[in-house]
């Protein structure tokens, strides 16, 4: 465990060095991120200048939701997206062999090898926006709701990770799965609004097939004290199952790749 943490630190450090080499690019990315987050925050504020409540969501809750969205997307773009993208390149180019020959978990190497360190900023922005929303909701935040928030957020991230792992693992059989992932990114994008505002079928898709709804909406609801213990339990269960299924699927893919199952 200790060793894996040391490796993670090393991965982040090398990628950070790389990011710092291209300062102009870095500055532009940072600017873009601030502008995008700023405008979407402004959009929510403008919307709530005309109404107090949107589909049951108050201003404070909506801002928290936006903040959580940036946290989730930030984490996803910080490590999952670059790593899995690279993994698919490895499968295409045949360089995955080098990873399989390392005396560390291949799943770890594939999932956490590459970082877009600049995305840390998006996570920070998300935290700040969440903080702003919480200030609005100050009265309703309790220790329990804060705990539920942190817990469901962690579950949501694991759910997204599990789904991404499954989708990426398909590359063992189909090699080119970039398009499947493109659909996934689009759904992630849709997560910036509460899933309650979407029509039924889409809501169900977004909370089951693509768990972004759960990852973003549930924590935002939890902090407002709107999630009961039963839901938290269910989400934990779903996360545990998703984690195990994705791991099994990954191992299955690896076996197919090495010809063990033929």
């Amino acid at each position: 465990m200790d060793r894996y943490l040391r490796l993670l630190r090393l991965f982040v450090r090398t990628e950070l060095q790389f990011a710092l080499e291209y300062r102009v690019n870095l500055a532009l990315e940072i600017m873009q991120m601030v502008v995008v987050a700023g405008t979407s925050l402004a959009a929510v504020l403008i919307l709530f200048a005309y109404t107090e409540v949107m589909n049951g969501w108050t201003l404070g809750q909506m801002v928290v939701l936006l903040g959580v969205y940036y946290i989730v997307q930030g984490v996803e773009e910080l490590v999952m997206q670059p790593s899995f993208q690279k993994f698919m390149e490895h499968v295409r180019d045949g360089t995955l062999d080098f990873i399989l020959l390392k005396p560390v978990s291949s799943q770890f190497m594939v999932s956490f090898r590459h970082f877009q360190t600049v995305q840390t900023l998006q996570v920070l922005l998300g935290l700040v926006i969440t903080g702003l929303g919480l200030a609005q909701l100050a009265a309703t935040v309790t220790l329990t709701s804060a705990g539920a928030f942190a817990f469901t957020l962690a579950c949501g991230l694991v759910l997204i990770y599990a789904l991404l792992l499954v989708l990426s693992t398909l590359a063992f059989w189909f090699v080119r799965v970039d398009n499947i992932l493109a659909i996934f990114w689009a759904f992630i994008d849709a997560g910036r609004f509460p899933i309650d505002i979407y029509p039924g079928w889409l809501r169900i898709t977004m909370s089951t097939v693509i768990p972004v709804g759960i990852a973003v909406t549930v924590p935002a609801k939890a902090i407002a004290g709107l999630v009961d213990l039963q839901t938290v339990g269910l989400i934990f269960l779903a996360t545990a199952v998703a984690w195990m299924v994705s791991r099994a699927f990954w191992k299955r893919g690896l076996r197919a790749y090495t010809g063990a199952s033929a």
Partner: protein
């Protein structure tokens, strides 16, 4: 009998390939009713390799060299047969096994493109848990042998192909593996870089005692490095023995190519060897290996001013292997090991 570092028995790999038919209709049908064809890649390979040996795997493209290497390094499960490498079953990929081997591929890189090799090496140090002092010692030695100093701190993408290969070697050997699988390590390199890499492999083998299995279709690589060769063709082991014997027995001749100035008489060349091609400007002939120097001297003497150029070469590896494959299997050579 000492314990072999690599012990391979009846190793066989059959790929199941999805049979594709032409046409859209066939493609649709194949979704429901897939036809598979079995393609044998390696058939019943058996050999042993002792510690510190440098063995060349020879064979044309698609002969099964890479499939064999991939099974021995644990990347592929065999269809049948067994193998032990440093005492482990490779395809279980135990951590101890993985720490004892390395695989280098001439056409693929394990280095991260955008960062300096030094950073990639640090990551490898952590992955293989190499203690700092040993890491420094090994890196120092590799830096010496490969003249890496100016290369380590540049992003890998800024390196030339040859420079990249040198760094690739450093990355592959930083954990001091006992067995090194080198798959076409000189592919695409210019002649001088090829010979640098060869010198390095020989020197590293001498110093560290690393067992090396090398595949290449450059005969020069094999000649420079391997005393022993294993010839594979269509997945079958055709020859396993001394390199010198392979060249002598399988291709007991040398190829002399004579370039002629305008209108030089070349009829006398027919008496010196078997002429295999001839046009106005050049003649190619095969002469018995042992008389090659003497005949070459005679050609130079007889042609004098009419001689534009002359070269004496071993027959191309493909030709040697073709001869091996053309039924000239040598049981005594196979049995010799």
């Amino acid at each position: 009998m000492t314990d072999a570092v690599i012990d391979v028995r009846g190793l066989t790999k059959v790929y199941r390939v999805h049979e594709r038919q032409e046409g859209l209709g066939a493609a649709v049908r194949s979704i429901f009713n897939r036809k598979f064809r079995e393609v044998p890649a390696v058939t019943d390979a058996t050999f042993r390799i002792e510690a510190g040996e440098v063995v060349g795997f020879l064979g044309p493209n698609g002969a099964g060299k890479t499939t064999t290497l991939k099974m021995l390094s644990g990347l592929l499960y065999p269809t049948s047969g067994g193998a032990r490498v440093v005492g482990h079953v490779p395809w279980r990929r135990d951590a101890d096994f993985l720490r004892a081997i390395t695989l280098l591929m001439g056409n693929r890189t394990q280095l991260v493109w955008d960062i300096a090799a030094a950073d990639s090496l640090r990551v490898l140090q952590e992955i293989y848990r190499i203690p700092e002092d040993r890491y420094r010692a090994t890196l120092g030695e590799l830096t010496d042998l490969l003249e890496l100093e100016p290369l380590l701190h540049k992003p890998v993408r800024d390196l030339s192909l040859g420079e990249r290969m040198k760094v690739e070697f450093a990355a592959g050997l930083i954990h001091s593996p006992r067995v090194a699988f080198l798959d076409e390590p000189t592919l695409g390199l210019d002649v001088s870089m090829q010979s640098r890499i060869r010198r390095f492999v020989a020197e590293h083998n001498r110093r560290a005692g690393t067992t090396v299995i090398l595949t290449s279709h450059y005969m020069d690589d094999v000649v420079a490095l391997c005393k022993r060769v294993i010839v594979i063709h269509h997945g079958r082991l055709l020859y396993d023995g001394q390199l010198g014997e392979l060249a002598q027995r399988m291709a007991p001749y040398k190829v002399i190519t004579v370039a002629l100035r305008d209108g030089a008489a070349s009829a006398f060349l027919d008496e010196l060897g078997t002429v295999t091609s001839r046009d106005e400007a050049s003649v190619t002939l095969h002469v018995p290996r042992e008389s090659a120097p003497e005949r070459t001297a005679r050609i130079v003497r007889d042609l004098e001013g009419s001689l534009a150029d002359i070269s004496v070469e071993d027959p191309p590896i493909e030709e040697v292997i073709d001869r091996v494959f053309a039924g000239e299997r040598m049981p005594e050579a196979l049995a010799a090991t």
